[in-house]
């Protein structure tokens, strides 16, 4: 049997077991749970095997497999060959299938026994998604077609992906984040179908959602970092549709993670939480459609491949299914409590949710609007950056403000005196940080406002973190908040305080920017097996002392007519010096010089957020729940029931 045929066979098996599992999950319920579980494991196993077959074909340069013929090359290094799996459409859908298979198997294996009654529906939902993706791999996006005659060599993956090592990590993180939303989606569907969202199931939704949130946060950061390190315009975010696609589910997932806390603590917002989880999943499918169908190249070209319409049909089916399910079943999720005071922690959670949903719509409208216009009257346009900036900046600062106020306020009704004592002291932090900013030359009003809200939030978060010695509850959340505050300050400062200049330098000529002296030393040619580079050597000095030598370059790839410029960056915690080349000749270089303060802190902050997320999901043995007042804890309930902490009142 040829490799391609073996791959096709494995995918067909995956399609078969996932369809069978979806049917058995919904049709036979708890009676068939054992078999539904086995089918879930089988789906994971077939996806794993199919991916291994593909990786083997890539590594052995088996060009009889269509995907290998499409992206493989004998010239590229081994690491490029391995990551070629996600360098192009068909392979990335296969990789999606692999991640989905492994996630479903893991969720089936590790879900708490307390959720057994929900599991048939959850697994059924996951495997229904699994059968869609197996169908996609088996049909419209088949990477296992047989090529004849077999080519001797292939073109290699898109040079842009070979151009930087960050591209190894960004797509897998994005898929882990996207696909993880399927798991929380399945749990939420189960909750709606059964009309019951108890602590154990809530815990399952929260943990699976938090895991995808962690991966998605890292993915968004890596995407921005990659754009910064590779694309050469010195920015990390451009409100590009592809970037927006990854941000949208992140926003709704963030909202859901907050509303889950309100469900845990006050017993309200169950239906709303389910809506947000369903919405997050829908946005991942929308994102896949937007990035994978080529619809943004032209509304009319996306039908040229069968993948766009297929995903669109799936998106429509999930949307109709979700809306119907919510309409019929949302009232079945009984709220047990109510919110009695607007100025309270839960009050800020409500406003937080409102703002995050508003942000989601803002970005969604700006992203989809050009598509609608082009579909209606054929005019081509895009929505400019100022729209996004002017809408998102105020909402972002309002969220930062809430991030400070919320954790400072107590749960439930509080007296005026309590509120005053909670909210006044952090004003000190706000003044200090704003003053530091102004002393360093910040003049932009939005940035000063961000610094003030950030300073307030920093003081609140620091106090909360210091209290953790008494109770570890919420440790993860506070670490995440710390990361968010740092990220927002860094984003505000780096985007308003950057200095940029374009210069043409002769050999040994010097230009100055923000205290750096930049000297063009000359250019040289270098060659590697898969590319040739023209490198501009640039010496950087500060106050007469050598700092570093940067080497921005033009990379020429064999399969591309035109070279790709790659910038070089000198990073410090205070700021980056970014040098990218517009043109290099023997003794003359056109350089773009950019000095951006604090930009490294964005990457650090997101790692901190991810760390906080990990702290929040891992069941640390030290994290003893508060004694659940009035909650009945059955002895057989097991670990999953820790979530009863949510019922404890203050």
């Amino acid at each position: 049997m040829t490799t391609a045929a073996l791959g096709r066979l494995l995918i067909l098996c995956a399609l078969l077991v996932s369809a069978a599992g979806a049917v058995s999950g919904f049709a036979s319920g708890a009676n068939g749970l054992r078999w539904t579980r086995r089918l879930a494991y089988a789906f994971g196993a077939f996806m794993l095997l199919a991916t291994l077959v593909m990786e083997r074909a890539l590594l052995t340069h088996d060009f009889s497999v269509s995907y290998v013929a499409h992206v493989g090359s004998r010239q590229v290094p081994v690491w490029v060959t391995i990551v070629s799996l996600w360098s192009s459409l068909e392979g990335s859908i296969l990789f999606w299938g692999l991640v989905l298979g492994l996630f479903i198997a893991a969720a089936t294996r590790f879900a708490s026994r307390a959720n057994d009654e929900s599991m048939p529906y959850a697994i059924g939902t996951w495997l229904a998604c699994g059968s869609f993706f197996s169908f996609l791999i088996a049909g419209p996006a088949n990477p296992f077609q047989t090529v004849s005659p077999v080519p001797l060599d292939g073109p290699g993956p898109n040079p842009l992906l070979q151009n930087h090592v960050l591209m190894v990590a960004h797509p897998p993180m994005l898929y882990l984040g996207y696909v993880g939303m399927t798991i929380s989606f399945g749990f939420a569907v189960a909750a709606l179908l059964r009309g019951h969202l108890g602590p154990a199931l809530l815990r399952a939704i929260r943990n699976s959602l938090m895991l995808s949130w962690i991966f998605l946060s890292i993915a968004i950061m890596l995407g921005g970092w990659w754009a910064y390190e590779v694309l050469g315009w010195g920015g990390y975010w451009a409100w590009d549709p592809v970037e927006n696609a990854s941000l949208l589910p992140w926003l709704t997932a963030t909202a859901a993670l907050h509303s889950i806390v309100v469900v845990q603590r006050r017993g309200v917002l169950k239906g709303w939480t389910a809506t947000l989880v369903l919405g997050s999943f829908l946005l991942t499918i929308l994102g896949t459609f937007m990035t994978r169908s080529g619809v943004f190249n032209s509304v009319h070209s996306f039908t040229q491949s069968a993948i766009g319409p297929t995903i669109l049909v799936f998106l429509a089916a999930v949307l109709i299914g979700s809306v119907t399910l919510l309409a019929l079943r949302i009232d079945a999720l009984e709220n047990e409590g109510r919110i009695d005071a607007p100025v309270s922690r839960e009050g800020t959670f409500l406003v937080n949710n409102l703002l995050l949903v508003l942000l989601t719509f803002t970005v969604l409208i700006g992203t989809v609007f050009p598509l609608v216009v082009e579909a209606v009257n054929g005019k081509q346009m895009s929505v400019g950056r100022p729209y996004f900036d002017s809408m998102v900046v105020p909402a972002g600062i309002a969220l930062l403000f809430l991030l400070g106020v919320g954790p400072a306020l107590p749960w439930g009704a509080a007296t005026r005196e309590q509120i005053r004592r909670a909210l006044l002291p952090p004003l000190g932090g706000a003044f200090v940080l704003a003053a530091i900013g102004i002393a360093f030359g910040v003049r932009n009003a939005w940035t000063i406002l961000t610094l003030a809200c950030g300073g307030y939030a920093l003081q609140v978060t620091a106090v909360q973190l210091a209290r953790l010695r008494r109770s570890r509850r919420g440790a993860g959340a506070h670490v995440i908040h710390l990361g968010v505050v740092i990220a927002m300050i860094a984003i505000a400062v780096s985007s308003t305080m950057r200095v940029q200049s374009e210069v043409v330098l002769q050999t040994n000529q010097t230009a100055a920017i923000s205290g750096y002296q930049v000297t063009f030393l000359g250019s040289e040619e270098r060659s590697e097996p898969h590319r040739a580079s023209t490198v501009a050597r640039v010496r950087v000095t500060k106050d007469g002392r050598d700092v570093t030598t940067l080497e921005p370059r033009m990379n020429h790839y064999e399969m591309m007519r035109e070279p790709i410029g790659t910038p070089d960056v000198y990073s410090t915690l205070a700021g980056d010096l970014y040098v990218s080349v517009a043109s290099i000749e023997q003794n003359r270089a056109g350089l773009l010089l950019i000095v951006t303060p604090l930009v490294s802190w964005i990457w650090i902050a997101v790692l901190l957020m991810a760390m906080g997320g990990v702290i929040a999901v891992v069941p640390w043995p030290l994290t003893r729940p508060l004694a659940p007042l009035g909650a009945t804890l059955s002895p057989q309930a097991g670990r999953g029931e820790i979530a009863t902490e949510g019922l404890a009142t203050r």
Binding site: M381, V383, V503, A582
Partner: protein, 160 residues
């Protein structure tokens, strides 16, 4: 309808109605702001022919103009400054472009370009951003066919 509503039930219904109304007003206000924001910040993808056809409407709007660099039209700025002037043409029209900044390596006669900027009443297109066709997948338009502007812009942006 239940005959005997308690006072709290009535209160709850009133609050609920009030909250719904407030949310609806907020949603409408948001939509109005968003629509205005989008309308003010649209970037049009035009060819020189589109630009000429728009007449007076072209002034002031942010436009991505795509076409080919007319042979022999490139004038580099004097030494010490950056910037370049050239003509962008398609099958039907020619537009004079003044671009600030260092032109990219591959910039030359006859290459496909997209410039972003605004049309001035002085008769030239002032651009702050110059992108050249950068992708092996992009095929130059056949004579007599307009450049598929958006397609090219996309290729350029992806490879930027």
């Amino acid at each position: 309808m239940k005959p005997n509503l308690s006072a709290t039930d009535v209160m709850r219904r009133r609050t609920r109605r009030f909250v719904m109304l407030a949310l609806a007003v907020a949603a409408l206000a948001f939509l109005a702001i968003a629509a205005g924001g989008i309308n003010d910040n649209l970037v049009y993808y035009w060819t020189p022919t589109d630009l000429r056809a728009a007449g007076n409407k072209a002034y002031g709007a942010t436009i991505r103009l795509g076409g080919m660099v007319k042979a022999g039209s490139i004038r580099h700025a004097t030494a010490g400054t950056t910037g370049v002037e050239f003509d962008v043409k398609d099958a039907g029209a020619v537009v004079h472009v003044k671009s600030s900044g260092v032109p990219p390596q591959m910039f030359r006669d006859g290459i496909g370009v997209v410039v972003e900027g605004t049309m001035t009443r002085g008769g030239s297109f002032e651009s702050h951003r110059l992108m050249v066709s950068h992708n092996n997948e992009y095929k130059a338009p056949k004579p007599g066919h307009p450049v598929d502007q958006k397609e090219m812009t996309k290729y350029i942006e992806e490879a930027r």
